[in-house]
Every structure is written in structure tokens, then in C-alpha cells.
């Protein structure tokens, strides 16, 4: 049974008010806590280590898989999940992790996700991270995502960390083969003394592979953010990184790009900006009747949407 806290966490990380239709696997405090499969999507518990294999049959269209993780006590959990996205399928995968820590012990979840997106398959992957709880114990999330995208595959990643995670190290590595396409949209907010590190490496291996990475972050109070973005062009390919950070108070943000081309037909662009909220935006909203705080909140909410 889901407690009220579980339900709140599920809503925050996956917009779920109830157990969804279709394939579903809930992990709670380090253990499986509910599973559905469908005729096209199988979920199997790994035998050699904690985690699951999600197997999506070739040609599966319009189905979704929800695999939320909730942690509601001070434990350290590590999980290895593998996804096989069959040829020419088109699916939505909603992951995400919510921590409610009311203890004084650390609550940590490390998720290692490996994806094989087969020829012509399309996958949208949404991962939201959220923390809450009155305890003094730290809330830590360290996701590692490795994705292999075969010929003509399309992958869209939406990653967001909105509130309450004290500490995160996020590693993402994607290999794009011939004509494969990647879109990454990352949203991150840190405040108090939180720290966040995000390392993204995209290998453009096949001809006409393309990658677009959009990162928008806000650092408040004394929080610290460090980003490494690497785009490596090994073929005729196109890549574009766009990162934008709003820095406030006494926060620190480092954005460290690398674009490397190993082929003269690679076309790679990196754009990065760090700055305060533009004062023109604040004065405009205030001249429409908002207080400074309201204006600031509206701008940040839009920016991180």
C-alpha cells in the first residue's frame, strides 16, 4: 500500500496520482514494491545485482513504462537497470526518484541506467529528482545514464532536479550511430549549501548523427554547480550545446565545455552564459504590478520550465 508520503513523492517525480496503466515498476526503500508488465513490455528482476531489465519488443508503439524510485528512510540504495528498446518502437519511459528523509542518516540512491536503443527506435526518457523531509540526514542522488543509439534512433532526455537534493553527481554518456538523433533538456535548481555536478559526454560516431543539449540552471544562496559538457564529433555530424545559468546570492557556477572534432565535416557549437536575472525583466514585471520577489519567482519558474 502506498502511504501519503509515497503518493506525494510519486506525484512530484512522475505526475502520478495513482498507479498508472501499462508497464510499471515501483522500487521503495531498496526493494521492489509493485510491478505490471504488458504483452509488449517485460520487466525482469536482475539475478546478479539489484535492478531490473526492461525489455520492449520491436515495433511497440505509443506505450509507456513508469519506473519510479522512492526512498522514505535513511538508507543507501544502489540499482542497475537495463533497457532494451526494440527496433522501430516508440515509447515513453518515466523514471525519477523522490527522497523523503526524516532521519538524521544519509538517504542515497545511485541509479545506473543503461539503454540500448535499437535501429529506428524512438525513446523519450523523463527523469525528475525531488527531495523533502525534516530530518538532518543528507539527501543524495547519483544517477549514471549510458545510452547506445543505433542507426536512425531518436532519443529525447528530459532531466530535472527541482528541489531538495543536497548532493548530486550526474553522469550521462551517449553514443550516437548513423543518423541517430539526441535531444537533451536539463533543468536544475540548487539552493542553501547544495552541490550539483553534471558530466555529459556525447560521442557522435556515425554519419549524420546529431545532438542538441539545452541546459538551464539556477544557483541560489551558497550552492555550487559544476558542469562538464563534451561533444566529440567522429564523423560528419552536428552538435549544439546551449547552457544558461542564473546565478544569485553567494552561489558558484562553473560551466566547462569541450567540443572536439575528429572529422572535418563535424559541425559543433557551444554556447554558455552565466549571469544574474536581467534587470530589464524584473523592472518590466514590477511595472505590471508585481513585487520584486514575485517578479523574481516568475522569471525563475519560467526559466526552469
Amino acid at each position: 500500500m502506498l502511504t501519503a508520503i509515497d503518493k506525494k513523492l510519486l506525484f512530484e517525480i512522475a505526475d502520478l496520482n495513482e498507479i498508472p496503466q501499462g508497464a510499471f515498476n515501483l522500487r521503495k526503500n531498496g526493494e521492489g514494491s509493485g510491478r505490471h508488465t504488458t504483452s509488449n513490455i517485460d520487466i525482469i528482476t536482475k539475478k546478479d545485482k539489484p535492478g531490473i531489465d526492461v525489455i520492449i519488443k520491436a515495433g511497440t508503439k505509443g506505450e509507456s513504462v513508469y519506473i519510479p524510485v522512492i526512498v522514505s528512510e535513511g538508507i543507501e540504495d544502489i540499482v542497475y537497470n537495463t533497457f532494451e528498446i526494440g527496433e522501430n518502437s516508440d515509447v515513453l519511459i518515466v523514471a525519477g526518484c523522490g527522497i523523503h528523509n526524516s532521519s538524521d542518516k544519509k538517504a542515497q540512491h545511485d541509479g545506473i541506467h543503461e539503454f540500448f536503443v535499437r535501429k529506428g527506435a524512438k525513446m523519450k526518457y523523463i527523469e525528475k529528482h525531488y527531495g523533502e523531509g525534516e530530518g538532518s540526514g543528507e539527501r543524495v542522488l547519483n544517477p549514471k545514464t549510458i545510452i547506445e543509439v543505433e542507426e536512425n534512433g531518436v532519443v529525447e532526455l528530459e532531466m530535472a532536479q527541482i528541489r531538495g537534493i543536497d548532493n548530486t553527481i550526474r553522469d550521462t554518456e551517449v553514443n550516437l550511430h548513423k543518423n541517430a538523433q539526441l535531444i537533451v533538456v536539463e533543468r536544475l535548481l540548487t539552493y542553501l549549501d547544495q552541490t550539483a555536478e553534471s558530466n555529459t559526454t556525447v560521442n557522435l560516431l556515425g554519419e549524420d548523427a546529431s545532438a542538441q543539449i539545452i541546459s538551464r540552471t539556477v544557483a541560489q544562496n551558497e550552492s555550487k554547480q559544476v558542469f562538464h559538457f563534451r561533444l566529440l564529433g567522429h564523423a560528419k555530424c552536428r552538435g549544439h550545446i546551449q547552457c544558461d545559468s542564473i546565478i544569485m546570492d553567494k552561489a558558484q557556477v562553473s560551466s566547462i565545455p569541450e567540443i572536439s572534432a575528429f572529422n572535418s565535416d563535424a559541425q559543433l557549437i557551444h554556447e554558455a552564459a552565466i549571469g544574474k536575472i536581467e534587470s530589464e525583466q524584473l523592472t518590466k514585471l514590477m511595472s505590471l504590478g508585481m513585487t520584486e520577489t514575485e517578479a523574481e519567482e516568475t522569471i525563475l519558474k519560467g526559466f526552469l520550465k
Binding site: R216, L288, F303
Partner: protein, 251 residues
């Protein structure tokens, strides 16, 4: 309705303090349309921002319907019924046209927003759900900026060069919109403009130069003077009159 008394404004520039406005005096009456004009850099935008509270005046007073608003914040003045359409509007990553219009006035539902956008020459269908980011053209952000002021129930609406970037085809509708706002909602309107078409709307014309009001006059007089001048360079005018061109040149 609005009274500006001995207003002064000093701003910090790159090379120290600059006196931008000095000893400004004028009154605006209820329900009239005023056009403010004068040379570039004369202080028109700075004055508007001082009225809106974006720049805090360094001396003098601003009264709205007899109440001293000199020390009020931007949003207090906004809530008292003053609105300002920026000469250079802000763009917002992540805020849609619909959302900005909702911020401007919570009375606006989608049908009203369609009318507002129509009044500034935009088709709501194409614009309501778009973010006001760098993908908009200069004229488009300008029109949306004007719409955010039309959306509000204002005592005093200030438009800073509303015609800038607006194409000829839309100008007619825009001038009609100003007249409608003035007649229907009894809003006092102050338009900063260099355009004859806008000057034609004026009940009175306020000339601002060198950070002060140089003259309050009629549109007929200003239009007459403009027609006499064949060049806007005062240096050349002086030359034509046989004056000392270079020494007199104030540019």
C-alpha cells in the same frame, strides 16, 4: 492628474555622474492625449522611467491626483494606475505571451487577449503560446509590449516610441487603439514619439530637450516648425543662417 515639480535625476554613467533631468515642471490633465518629443538623448525615456519609479528621482516631486508618489516603488505606482511601455522591451526565456498578458491583468481571458493582440496587429492564434524569447522580431516584441499596457486598467499610460519598428500597415490600427483607450477608459495617455502621425493625436505637445521641458505647445505649431526644417542637423541650420557652424554645433 499628474504633476511633476522641479524634478531632477542624476544617474551614474561610465564616466561618473550625469545629470539627466533638471528642474522639470509640467502637469498632465485627466483624459487628455499628450505627445512628448524632442531630440535624441533629451531625457524623454529617463523622465518616463522616473514617473514609473524605475529611476528614483534625486530632487523634486511627482504627484498623482494630488498624492505624492515620489518615494513609492515601481509596483506601488503600477498598482495606483501608472503603466509604461518600454522603448526597448525585455524578452523572457520561458514566459509565453499569454502568461505575460495574464500578469498584466488577471481580468484577461483568452477572448480578451485575442482582442488585445488584434489591436496591436497580431494574430492571437500564432502568438499566445509562444515564448517571448529572442525568436521574436523587433516589431513583434514591441507590439506585445504595447499590448501589456493596453491590457491594464490605467489612469496614466506612457508609451515610449510605440511606432518604432511597427510597419506602416499596422500604424493606423495602433493610433486608433490609442484613441479608443483614451475615449473608452478615460486613460490619460503620454506618447513619446518622433512621428507626425502620432503628433496628430496630441491635445498638447511637450518638448523635452537637454533634460528639461523646453516648451509645452500645440501640434499645429510643432508640425509647422517641422515642415520648415529640411534637415534635422542644427549645425546645418545655423550654417544656412550664416552662423558659426562648427562652434555652435551642439552635437
Amino acid at each position: 492628474m499628474l504633476e511633476v515639480k522641479n524634478l531632477g535625476l542624476t544617474l551614474k554613467g561610465d564616466e561618473g555622474e550625469i545629470q539627466v533631468l533638471k528642474d522639470m515642471n509640467f502637469k498632465l490633465e485627466d483624459k487628455k492625449i499628450y505627445v512628448m518629443t524632442g531630440p535624441n538623448g533629451g531625457g524623454k525615456s529617463a523622465l518616463s522611467k522616473a514617473i514609473m519609479g524605475i529611476y528614483q528621482s534625486t530632487s523634486g516631486q511627482i504627484l498623482l491626483n494630488g498624492e505624492d508618489i515620489t518615494n513609492k516603488t515601481i509596483y506601488e505606482r503600477a498598482r495606483m494606475g501608472i503603466g509604461y511601455a518600454f522603448q526597448q522591451p525585455a524578452r523572457f526565456k520561458g514566459i509565453k505571451v499569454r502568461e505575460l498578458l495574464e500578469i498584466a491583468s488577471d481580468k484577461n481571458k483568452v477572448p480578451e487577449m485575442c482582442d488585445l493582440l488584434y489591436d496591436v496587429g497580431l494574430c492571437a492564434q500564432d502568438y499566445l503560446e509562444r515564448e517571448i524569447n529572442t525568436s521574436f522580431s523587433g516589431g513583434e516584441v514591441k507590439r506585445i509590449e504595447i499590448a501589456t499596457i493596453l491590457a491594464r486598467d490605467l489612469k496614466l499610460a506612457i508609451f515610449d516610441e510605440p511606432e518604432a519598428g511597427i510597419d506602416l500597415w499596422s500604424m493606423q490600427r495602433l493610433t486608433e487603439t490609442f484613441v479608443k483607450m483614451n475615449e473608452k477608459y478615460n486613460t490619460t495617455i503620454l506618447i513619446i514619439s518622433h512621428q507626425e502621425r502620432i503628433l496628430n493625436l496630441a491635445d498638447e505637445v511637450i518638448m523635452v530637450a537637454d533634460g528639461t521641458v523646453s516648451e509645452i505647445t500645440t501640434r499645429e505649431k510643432v508640425l509647422g516648425e517641422i515642415r520648415q526644417i529640411d534637415s534635422d542637423c542644427r549645425c546645418r541650420q545655423s550654417c544656412n543662417k550664416g552662423g558659426k557652424a562648427i562652434a555652435d554645433c551642439d552635437r
